[in-house]
């Protein structure tokens, strides 16, 4: 898993690549969650996120919870179809705004 977190004024921009699996889920939370502050939006750019499992979805739920606590909005952008399918299966699109890679284009 690759993470690149960029603080852009009131937006926290997180680029994630590789796979967000059980083995990486704790790393993801440890890396990202502390950086959530006075942002109005947290954007998770999933363009390079190739794969995610149930532990990965759990990590995203945790991220959404943190955002909610600070009043920030979580959005997942440029999600590839395979990942987007799982997000819909697990209904995460009801928590965060999810746009696919094709939608962004």
């Amino acid at each position: 898993m690759k993470l690149d977190v960029e603080d852009k004024e009131d937006r926290l921009f997180i680029k994630i690549g590789g796979q967000l699996l059980y083995s990486e889920a704790d790393n993801f939370k440890e890396e990202v969650l502390p950086k959530i502050g006075q942002h109005s939006t947290v954007t998770l750019d999933c363009e390079h996120l190739q794969f995610i499992d149930s532990a990965g979805t759990g990590a995203i739920v945790r991220l959404w919870k943190e955002c909610r606590m600070v009043g920030a909005e979580l959005e997942l952008i440029r999600v590839i179809p395979e990942v987007q399918k799982l997000l819909h299966l697990t209904r995460l699109h009801q928590l965060a705004k999810v746009t696919g890679i094709d939608d962004a284009a």
Partner: protein, 808 residues
């Protein structure tokens, strides 16, 4: 010279000499004269006496002569009578044809009596018709229509009423005929033909035309004498006709009876019955009125009508009006002449009108019944003429009606049986469908399993049964059995066994232990089967597809065959007592568990005794060797087609003999498996292993769009095993075994961890569906995702081995 002779004395006048001599001579002469006178008187008296005697003799002779002449005449007459009678008797004896006899008789009598006409009338000889035959000479011949009217004459009535001869020497003066006869008929002699019991049979008559004739006593007595043989001939002919009619009716009755016994087609029987009865009795109509028991209405079901007789019409409602005229107790209803029927008053005008419409004058109706059950009436009409239904005819029709009753009863029974049979066969079909559904559910296992089944039931519903179930993805439970007997009862027990079996398969304490499974199943059948003597044989085995291990127990069932490239053998599984014969206490320890090893491509053939107890056409059992020989020659045969091929071979070796029993074959094969061990839970390591599986699946046709799902499922399952299983094991045991096999469009995987397992029953009860997971929860999506991705998810009883199957 006799003293009566006259003694003439010569008187000599010369002797007269004196007066005295003269006186003396005179006195002498007087004396002589007196004497002569006396003699003459005496002679005269004698002569007179003789004459008287002669006269008397002559008279006597005359009397004798007259008597002799009379006797001679009588003898001649008697001889003539006898000759005539003999002639008649001879003629009568030479034939049974009464019409022929009568014709020759009138011809004979006509010639003999030298009359102008001679005739015989036999009233109501056949049905209501008179039989009349007449001889006539020359100009006195008459048309049949004319002389047939003789029976209507007053003379005929006189004779038939008095049974005395009628002698009319001159019709012009006789009180019965004077002024009444228009023709030139002058003398009539009519004699009744009377049977020995004074029953009138007919009349014979002689006519003398134009010239008057005095009938002599002899002629009368001769005609009376001739009447005897004629009456006998008529009686004989009547008896002969009766016997012939009786024989023909018996024949008809026999034909009817055999037809009724020979066919169940009631319509054909009744149609031909009315036609034959109608013709046999020469009736105008013969029909059958059937009573509808629900409505009590009568309908004409079958009808025969003679030529020129209008049929009433089948299928029409046709109430039998005449039965209103009869008493309930009467065994039949007979009307000889409707127009003279006194009981007609019992009917309404409308009903009488309806009867008249049929144009029938004589009616006969005989009930058709069987064991006091009235089905209808066998009816006859005689149209336009009256008819006396004889007791023989009625008895015959009653016999026929009785047979028709049997036929109808038989048809009703057949109909009921057929209805029952239809119902039974419908129920059997339903039972068969139900059984098929029950069994097909058993066959509807993961198509990825290396199992093939062929099932040929002997009946619609059979006694053989089988069940194949995945205890785990690579663990297959196989049950095969045979209920004693066949048909619905066996099918019911089969159904019961299947129901019980399902329960036992749900219970891991029995489903994973063949001996416990069979013991529990036997006990269940034993409890339910106290009232009958059913039992079942069964074989239950558990096949581990990955390891090629089979553990099994046998309850009196034929032992399966083990096939590999080099050998074919019956496995030695020590069959125990069939199911249902022992209670659980008695059955404990009855069934032993046997274990067998199958190498990749090895096969096991499990079957019922329909394969080993098949007879050949000559009734001998096929030697069991045929099965082993067949398997030997089919080691490379495609698994899915092998069971059907085995049954096909059985048909060949038994020379297509009919199957004696259900035929059921289950074949399993040890597949080529892939087994790897996972020792590291790092992402790259696991990704590589999963990649290998995905590539294998892709080669076997896994669609691209399912790859991510399969990967996700495997990732979830593998990480679960590491997280919940391997993490709890000792270091040296922290490896996970992953096996998979792909068959057709299906992949099955098993993932086994070294951990203690988990209570998967409880876990899947609470959250097996993604929609049930709280979306704000950070965990709990793993299991629901597995159920979402895979078509089958299951665990071993311990919960440390998961099986996953994905179909595409």
């Amino acid at each position: 010279m006799s003293e009566n002779d006259i003694n003439l004395q010569v008187f000599d006048f010369g002797d007269l000499k004196d007066i005295d001599s003269c006186l003396a001579a005179v006195k002498k002469l007087q004396k002589q004269l007196d004497s002569e006178r006396k003699i003459a008187d005496k002679k005269e008296k004698l002569m007179s006496q003789s004459l008287q005697e002669s006269k008397q003799m002559s008279s006597h002779l005359q009397q004798i002569t007259q008597a002799l002449a009379k006797e001679r005449k009588a003898a001649i007459e008697k001889s003539e009578t006898e000759r005539l009678l003999w002639k008649l008797i001879e003629r009568i004896n030479s034939s049974f044809d009464l019409e022929h006899i009568l014709q020759s008789t009138v011809d004979e009598l006509g010639h003999y009596f030298k009359v102008d006409r001679c005739g015989i009338i036999i009233p109501s000889y056949k049905t209501s018709k008179n039989l009349v035959r007449e001889y006539a000479s020359g100009e006195w011949k008459r048309k049949k229509e004319t002389y047939s009217q003789v029976s209507l004459s007053a003379l005929y009535r006189t004779v038939t009423e008095t049974l005395e001869p009628l002698i009319i020497n001159d019709t012009l003066t006789h009180e019965l005929t004077a002024g009444n006869l228009g023709e030139d008929l002058r003398s009539i002699l009519m004699v009744p033909l009377v049977q020995y019991n004074d029953e009138l049979i007919g009349v014979v008559y002689l006519h003398q035309c134009r010239t008057q004739r005095n009938w002599t006593e002899h002629e009368l007595s001769l005609l009376q004498a001739a009447a005897g043989p004629i009456a006998t001939a008529v009686e004989k002919s009547k008896l002969f006709s009766k016997a012939k009619a009786w024989a023909s009716r018996e024949k008809l009755l026999n034909r009817l009876t055999s037809r009724i016994r020979g066919t169940l087609n009631i319509n054909v029987i009744l149609e031909r019955t009315v036609a034959e009865l109608g013709q046999a009795l020469q009736s105008s109509r013969c029909f059958i009125n059937i009573i509808d028991h629900k409505t009590t209405r009568e309908k004409l079901s079958h009808e025969y009508s003679a030529n020129n007789i209008e049929p009433i019409g089948t299928g029409k409602e046709n109430p039998l009006i005449i039965n209103k005229m009869a008493e309930r107790s009467e065994e039949y209803i007979s009307i000889s002449n409707l127009y003279k029927e006194p009981r007609l008053t019992k009917l309404s005008n409308k009903e009488i009108e309806q009867l008249y419409k049929t144009k029938a004058m004589a009616f006969l109706a005989v009930p058709i019944s069987f064991q006091r059950n009235l089905f209808g009436w066998l009816c006859f009409h005689q149209c336009n003429v009256p008819r006396n239904w004889t007791s023989e005819e009625i008895a015959f029709i009653q016999s026929a009606a009785s047979q028709v009753g049997v036929a109808i009863n038989q048809a009703e029974m057949v109909s009921k049986l057929s209805e029952y049979q239809t119902k039974i066969s419908r129920e059997l079909k339903q039972a068969a469908q139900l059984q098929s559904i029950l069994l097909s559910a058993g066959a509807d296992t993961n198509k990825n399993l290396p199992i093939a089944v062929s099932y040929h039931p002997h009946h619609n519903v059979s006694g053989d049964f089988y069940w194949v179930t995945e205890l785990a993805p690579h663990i297959i439970g196989i049950l095969i059995g045979d209920v004693s007997g066949k048909g619905p009862a066996a099918a019911l027990l089969t159904g019961y066994i299947i129901g019980e079996m399902k329960g036992l398969l749900e219970n891991q304490e029995t489903s994973w232990h063949p001996e416990a499974f069979l013991t529990a199943l036997s006990d269940s059948i034993f409890e339910q089967n106290q009232a009958s003597d059913f039992y079942a044989t069964a074989w239950y085995g558990i096949f581990n597809v990955l390891e090629g291990k089979v553990i099994c127990s046998n309850a009196g069932h034929p032992s399966p065959c083990l096939m590999n490239e080099n050998s074919i053998n019956r496995i030695e599984d020590e069959p125990g007592v069939p199911l249902g014969l022992l209670s659980v206490n008695d059955a404990i320890g009855t069934y032993v568990v046997k274990e067998f090893k199958l190498n990749p491509s090895d096969r096991m053939i499990i079957f019922t005794d329909g394969l080993t107890e098949q007879r050949e056409l000559d009734g001998k059992f096929l030697p069991e060797a045929w099965l082993l020989d067949t398997l030997k020659s089919h080691t490379k045969y495609k698994l899915t087609e092998l069971p059907e091929e085995i049954i096909r071979q059985l048909n060949i070796v038994s020379k297509a003999a009919p199957a004696d029993d259900d035929r059921l074959v289950v074949a399993i094969e040890m597949p080529e498996n892939n087994i790897i061990e996972l020792t590291d839970d790092s992402q790259d390591y696991i990704n590589n292993k999963i990649k290998a599986i995905l590539e294998d699946a892709a080669i076997h046709g896994l669609p691209k769009n399912l790859e991510a799902s399969l990967k996700l499922g495997l990732v979830e399952a593998i990480y679960n095993s590491f997280r919940h299983g391997a993490s709890k094991a000792k270091d040296q045991d922290k490896k996970i075994t992953l096996g998979w096999w792909i068959k057709e469009s299906s992949i099955s995987c098993t993932i086994k961890d070294p951990g203690p397992g988990f209570n998967w029953h409880k876990a899947i009860q609470s959250k097996s569906m993604l929609k049930d997971v709280d979306i704000t929860s950070e965990g709990g999506r793993g299991l629901p995702l597995l159920f979402e991705i895979f078509s089958k998810v299951c665990w071993n009883p311990a919960g440390n081995e998961i099986g996953l199957t994905m179909n595409w």
